[in-house]
Amino acid sequence: MDINSIRLHYEIPGDDFTIAGEASSNVKKMLNQLGIAPDIVKKTSIAMYEAEINAVIHAGGGEANIEITGEKITIVIKDNGPGIPDVELAMQEGYSTASDYVRELGFGAGMGLPNIKRYSDKLDIQTEVGKGTVVTIVVNIN
């Protein structure tokens, strides 16, 4: 194993808003311990949080795999949910398919994917309707 990288794995439980975001807050804590610049920590934790919440809201959970190297942080959020039929549409600010219940909780404002894009240096979305989605977020360090 490459000693110059850290790999982390988290299960993202579905439909539980009370523990949603736990993985991203753990990652945030670790990035602070690594002494990574505050603005990079912020970008990473917001982008990851949004992707994590998306997996909770739309896909009944999934998993998060994170790799940290001296150069970049790569976050892969994978779910086996319904997939995104039109990624371009989903990327538009304010577009949301979240239920009223989810909106009442303050989520589902259609800012999830746009925010991920805003806070990441590279974003890749692989999705297949009926099968699931893999969101890969890269944030460069320095």
């Binding site: 850290i6 807050s25 602070n32 002494g35 917001i46």
Partner: protein, 439 residues
Amino acid sequence: METYFHSVTLDENKCMGCTNCIKRCPTEAIRVRKGKARIINERCIDCGECIRVCPYHAKKAITDPFDSIYSYKYKIAIPAPSIYGQFKPSFSRNQILNTLKAIGFDYVYEVAKAAEVVSFATREIIKKDGFKKPLISSACPAVVRLIQVRFPNLIDNILKLESPMEVAAKLVKSEVVNKGYALPDEIGVFFITPCAAKATSVKAPYEKERSNVDGVISMKDIYIKMLNALDRPEETDILDKAGYEGIRWAGPGGESTALETDKFLAVDGIHNVITILEEIESDRLEDIDFVEALACTGGCLGGPLTVVNPYVARKRLRKHVIEAKEKSMPKTFQEKYDSDLVWTSDIKYRPVMKLDEDIIKAMKKLETLERINKELPGLDCGACGAPSCRALAEDIVRGIANETDCIFKLREKVRELAIQMAELEAKMPPVLDREKGKR
């Protein structure tokens, strides 16, 4: 190496080395070593949570003794607004303030009055717009220091205006000099404090070179003195000059309601403050211009150096607020305050959680930390002296603790050793391995 002054300190003789404080400290700044709690100076934010939770009263705040006022010819008391909540409602605000004169001060000036000046300045900032939203109040120095060590992205959100205490000290000094009561170098201004954090902010200010306050006296320390003097009915002076807006600063929401905006959020209790700051740092709070965050539950009325239960104190304060309203006291901010309120120095991020200066080394340490953490029992019992298993793992990679500090790990090792010994004991050297009775 920077040195850190802290008001919060330990009384070694009283400390039993229990786990109460280490588990409640919001910055994981306490470890038990050799049966005594040790405060990690660079992490401590002087919130006073440990003073509150220590069952043996071994945590204390360093403040100035009352007698220190006598080193000045002209002694001025500037009491925090929380003082009004400490006495029975039958005593008027003016009585309480005159008591300070009765016990030895020459002049009294309400910090509540200066709070109105700060409220005014804050309103101006909010009206003008163009600030980083939300503004976070700097009234509570423990919260400012919390941001400094844990929320570096929020440093720019801090309202960088001087505190009511500093403004009061400045205003009263010039007032006394102008009235010809004393010369500048004869004056000693003493803040009557509800908390340790304020004492630290006088001894080691972050917002400027030197504080305007000359000494800090704990509310607790002068409480008995004041109680004894309260019965004397002489109310020689009219000292209650602050309006209700300033008085309200003592409790949670008080600073916010003076701002004439609904777009505020007030949070009290250090652990609640942390969750709200997390929300702000992650851009999850919408439509909020101002955040009032107070380390103590109940705001300053719940300060660790106050005497009365914060909820009782809050009820008592309400009476003074209503009275101030009824007297239809004008907003006392009429006299123009010319000096600039803006901080002259600034705070910098102190990355106290960083494992190593070198990121590659930090990564190796983090990896080891995670591995050790997985092998620990996860009970967070605190018996090792660290607040949680993860904190112990962190201490191990920092080189200040050992795996066997964990009593469960130690027991495991002892058990392994015992099994090995039992196995060895059963093995006889061949020359001795004779059947019984045959010699």
